[in-house]
Point group: C2
Chain length 191, copies 2
DNA sequence: CCGACATTTCAGGAATTTCTGAAATATCGG
DNA sequence: CCGATATTTCAGAAATTCCTGAAATGTCGG
């Protein structure tokens, strides 16, 4: 690996964290490298930069594409595929959330649904189903919220984040304000 | 493994998902088993239920305790340790978020901070640092929001979730309402 | 302190995942 | 269709992670 020290440190870190994030070292490194590269890179350049085999890079790129975290950029008069990461970090966040949900949450949700359909054959099973129902309810609430929020454009999402927990204070205030307003002006529908 | 079919299906699913969640099969299965069990279980019972070795259960329980996902419950007149999962699913969510942040996000944040302190030695490094700064900014915003929200008690958290993206509609409304209210009543400080 | 039982540690074997090099396949200009 | 170049596939090697059984350690009542 022969990279500027700053880049190398970043790449190595992503490689190490890879295992905690459920991706392997090479995939983490490729992602990090593409993320900080000023221009799209082709497979050969990645091989040179990371010192791993060509086939490993090929598989890594495939996986990153499956995650929508590497996108091929065609460069005129060059047969080789070049890759970048999406440049808007908020978009990356969305992508990550979406893919993780698909892989880590949805399967469980569907198993839970299935198990909740069955009729329990014992007190033990009845209790287990009760617990599964709690888990199902929580996950469903979370995914509903997520489906809702993921449609927000970046600017609104950012302001929502910035607001943080103060939003609940706003909720309290809202009720009071509506009380005051009632019968005076039209504050709009408020659920 | 000799469990009621419903429980067995649940346990097996968690075992399979384990690898996607960054835990191993046994740990996933132990968690699932404890989660649906009507009473705390001791290690021997887990061994019998799952058909894995005693030592494996011991290590699995240790890991779950490190995650705060298994808690020892002392049972009077019984020397053996018994374990349950926290029973409030919202609490489990908090715990999970906290632990994942600690393991998956914080290390990256600190590496980014460190790399951003250094002065770039080339245009390439300068660009890399720029990208790192974007990532750092995003992560910092997310963790600030998270630190903010995690303090909410369950009820408020739930209502925040239920509100979903409509909260931004509320933000728009807020400004209009405050405009209308101005000079008529005290709507309270609103940032 | 002893004996009975409970738990943890850990070396090494088993299972799984990752990585490589070689071969196969694909794509292009001519 | 050919030769040059780019990419993918895949069997097995390498590395890593997981799991077990045996031994060590801890803890209790007496």
């Amino acid at each position: 690996m022969n990279l500027p020290p700053l880049v190398q440190a970043f790449v190595l870190h992503f490689g190490e964290m890879g295992s905690r994030w459920g991706i392997n070292r090479t995939v983490g490194q490729i992602y990090a490298l593409l993320y900080v590269a000023p221009d799209p890179l082709n497979a050969e350049q990645i091989v040179d930069a990371l010192g791993v085999s060509r086939s490993n890079v090929s598989m890594g790129l495939k996986e990153l594409q499956a995650w929508n975290l590497a996108i091929p950029k065609h460069i005129p008069n060059d047969r080789r595929d070049h890759f970048t990461t999406p440049d808007d970090v908020w978009q990356i966040l969305r992508t990550l959330a979406e893919e993780r949900k698909k892989r880590e949450v949805d399967p469980t949700l569907s198993v839970l649904r299935e198990l909740l359909m069955q009729s329990p054959g014992s007190a033990e099973e009845r209790h287990a189903q009760q617990r599964m129902a709690e888990m199902h309810g929580l996950i469903e609430q979370l995914t509903t919220w997520y489906d809702d929020v993921k449609r927000l454009e970046t600017e609104r999402l950012a302001s929502l984040l910035a607001l943080g927990a103060r939003v609940t204070r706003l909720l309290d205030t809202k009720d009071k304000v509506i009380g005051l307003m009632r019968g005076r002006a039209s504050p709009g529908k408020e659920g």
